[in-house]
């Protein structure tokens, strides 16, 4: 072709683009973030409860800590599940890993007198191994992680029950609380932070008292700190580090990622290990909190985590999503789970309420995202 023709074809398109640049404002770009729909969903759910639970204690400091704690525990595993889902895989063994990790902490500590930190390290080591096996099986066989980890859903739960019954004859092991004091590692997973601040606020009369006449909030439960911390780290990793880029790439198109030099297998193994670790963190917090381990702990948590991640705007097919979205998903989940007790709805309708609210949140989220895409 002649050079004059080339110039003619380029010139109008260049001016086209100039116009388009101006249209991409900061807000339009923000609207395109995966977590924005979830934020809208969270606002909707909060608005719902402000109206339907008005005058109740839901949005007092105590009520907030109450639902935040439920959200936080879910949020811890949801963060890891989000990274894994962005990386293109599922882990259905999270819930069972929670049960097994609890048993692995409780039995050595209570039955065999191990220091708690050693028992916790044992649980983390086993979790690492489970994640490593999960990841390698998925990598080597090429089977959907859905199937591979479903096997571990049963294996780990069965191991928790089997080991616990074999060694103690029971399925519930109590008496862990007395091992916590003085164990610095265990204290990372137990108690509350900023207790001084809260007693100071209570002393100034800024915090109300609860049904028992105590200051309603004595501190921030450690689970909330873990939740915020993990969400922040995961967000940093996803948005700012090469490893985060590899996660997106592995989930978006594993083959393309590998061909571009991304160590896809290593990324996936590390993500599976991280979900198992997050389940262990969950187990640590709950075991320290309740003072007991139970083989049934964590039942259906894998499903809740996946729900939270999807509410948070991640794609089930991988390659897209955010840790902040997962945190918002967990927040919505925790708020809805606890919120029913403030609305006066008979709890016989608990699961209907939960399902309807989650569905509404997801639909609204989806609607917002579509709107944002159109606006783009």
């Amino acid at each position: 072709m002649s050079s004059t023709e080339t110039k003619q074809s380029v010139a109008p398109s260049a001016t086209d683009r100039d116009e388009r640049i101006q249209r991409v404002s900061f807000w339009k770009r923000a609207l395109n973030r995966p977590e924005l729909g979830a934020l809208a969903g969270a606002v909707l759910v909060i608005a719902f409860f402000i109206v339907s639970a008005s005058g109740t204690g839901m949005f007092t400091p105590a009520g907030i800590v109450n639902f935040l704690e439920v959200a936080a525990q879910l949020g811890i595993i949801a963060t890891a599940a989000a990274l894994l889902m962005i990386g293109g895989e599922f882990d259905l063994s999270i819930g069972s890993m929670i049960g097994l990790a609890g048993i692995l902490i409780a039995i050595p500590a209570v039955e065999y007198g191990w220091p708690l930190w050693a028992a916790i390290l044992l649980a983390f080591a086993c979790a690492g191994l489970v994640g490593w096996i999960n990841g390698n099986l998925v990598n080597k066989t090429g089977l959907p992680s859905f199937i591979v980890t479903l096997g571990f859903l049963f294996i780990l739960r069965g191991l928790a029950i089997g080991v616990s019954r074999l060694l103690t004859g029971r399925t519930q092991i109590g008496g862990i609380q007395e091992h916590i004091p003085g164990d610095w590692f265990a204290s990372l997973f137990s108690g509350e932070v900023a207790t001084g601040l809260f007693s100071w606020m209570a002393a100034n009369g800024w915090i109300a008292t609860n049904f028992a006449g105590n200051p309603v909030v004595s501190g921030i439960p450690v689970s909330i700190v873990w939740w915020f911390g993990l969400t922040a780290v995961a967000t940093w990793v996803l948005l700012c580090t090469p490893y985060g880029n590899w996660i997106f790439a592995s989930g978006g198109d594993a083959n393309a990622a590998r061909n571009s030099g991304v160590p896809v297998h290593r990324v996936k193994i590390s993500l599976f290990m991280f979900t198992a670790f997050s389940a262990t963190i969950f187990a640590c917090i709950q075991v320290m909190d309740t003072g007991s381990a139970d083989t049934i702990r964590g039942l259906l948590k894998e499903l809740e985590a996946i729900i939270a991640v999807v509410i948070g705007g991640a794609l089930l097919t991988g390659g897209y999503g955010s840790a902040i979205g997962a945190a918002l998903g967990a927040l919505i989940f925790g708020m809805v789970q606890m919120g029913i007790f403030y609305t006066g709805v008979n709890t016989d309708w608990f699961q209907v309420f939960l399902g309807v609210m989650l569905l509404v949140a997801v639909l609204f989220n989806n609607y917002m995202r579509k709107k944002a895409m159109e606006a783009r």
Binding site: M1, T6, S9, V10, S13, A14, R17, R20, I21, V24, R29, W236, C240, T241, P242, N245, W246, F248, A249, G252, D253, N255, A256, A257, R258, N259, S260, G261, V262, P263, L315, G319, Y320
Partner: protein
């Protein structure tokens, strides 16, 4: 030139996929500062050959040498580390990821140290934008997902990326198939520049207009085997065209089209034109290049 060590050399390389023999006993030398053009029918094994070179596949038999030293790439990451950059036929792009993220996928530029080591997004965005501008694509927003780009724009990202990272060897597998004339000419200029910079270039195309001007040598593959390498001096444009996918068939096509044209003219003379049909035949008839070459360039 022939006295120096080849930048990349294959010695009797074979690749089997189970019972499928995709490559058998291929030997090939590519020197730095030289463009090797791979020719062959669809399914001849061109993509398999370059995937073996770029570490996607490991050869079943045979050896590969990079700059005279034996090379075995366990994965594409190793080939990239060795300075071999590839534009794959499927582009190896992740549609959901941004242009910048795709551009630097697997080779992210970082700043900071230790746990604070992070991607230098400012630098990365700037380079991605600059490199895309050089290929003639004005990227309005480097954080735009690649999935929203047109096929040609996507190809340009892949090419710009390979050109940016290719230190010793640049491999392009049908890189111009979705490109407009302007971008295609930019790609050819790139290839010429890479050659001038002393890279070894391996180039796969079905378009003789693209292949002939830039190539220094041609290797013809057929059904997994090599029919030999030829220097450009030894071979004419027409011979290259014939070696390309179904050159003989195109000649037949030319004859057939001429036949249509003749029939059409006769029909017009009879005063019974076929509406709508006549236009396309006329276009074919009045085009200045033979239909065979034009069709080849349309791929």
């Amino acid at each position: 030139m022939t006295t120096q060590t080849p930048m990349i050399e294959m010695r009797s390389v074979s690749k089997h996929f189970g019972s499928v023999i995709a490559l058998s006993n291929i030997s090939m030398k590519v020197y730095s500062g030289e463009v090797m053009c791979l020719l062959g029918d669809n399914g001849a094994g061109k993509s398999t050959l370059i995937k073996t070179l770029s570490g996607v596949h490991q050869p079943t038999h045979g050896d590969m040498l990079l700059d005279g030293k034996p090379a075995r790439f366990k994965s594409p990451a190793y080939a990239l580390d060795a300075g071999i950059a590839t534009v794959f036929q499927d582009l190896a792009m992740v549609p959901l990821m941004s242009i910048t993220r795709n551009f630097f996928m697997g080779r992210e530029p970082t700043i900071g140290w230790g746990p604070l080591k992070r991607i230098d997004w400012k630098y990365a965005d700037r380079i991605a934008k600059e490199e895309m501008a050089r290929i003639g694509i004005d990227v309005r927003d480097p954080s735009q997902p690649v999935g929203t780009l047109s096929g040609g724009e996507r190809q340009c990202v892949a090419i710009a990326r390979a050109v940016y990272f290719g230190a010793k060897v640049l491999i392009l597998d049908e890189p111009t198939s979705a490109l407009g004339v302007k971008q295609a000419s930019v790609v050819l200029r790139y290839i010429a520049r890479a050659r001038a910079d002393g890279l070894a270039v391996i180039f796969i195309t079905h378009n003789v207009h693209h292949a002939y001007p830039v190539a220094d040598a041609f290797t013809l593959l057929s059904r997994g085997g090599s029919l030999g390498s030829f220097r450009k001096e030894e071979i004419s444009r027409e011979e290259v065209l014939n070696m390309m996918a179904g050159g003989a068939e195109l000649e037949n096509l030319d004859a057939e089209l001429a036949e249509f044209q003749r029939n059409d003219r006769e029909r017009k003379a009879d005063g019974a034109p076929a509406p709508g049909h006549s236009e396309s035949v006329a276009a074919a008839g009045h085009a200045d290049a033979p239909a065979g070459e034009r069709l080849a360039s349309d791929r």
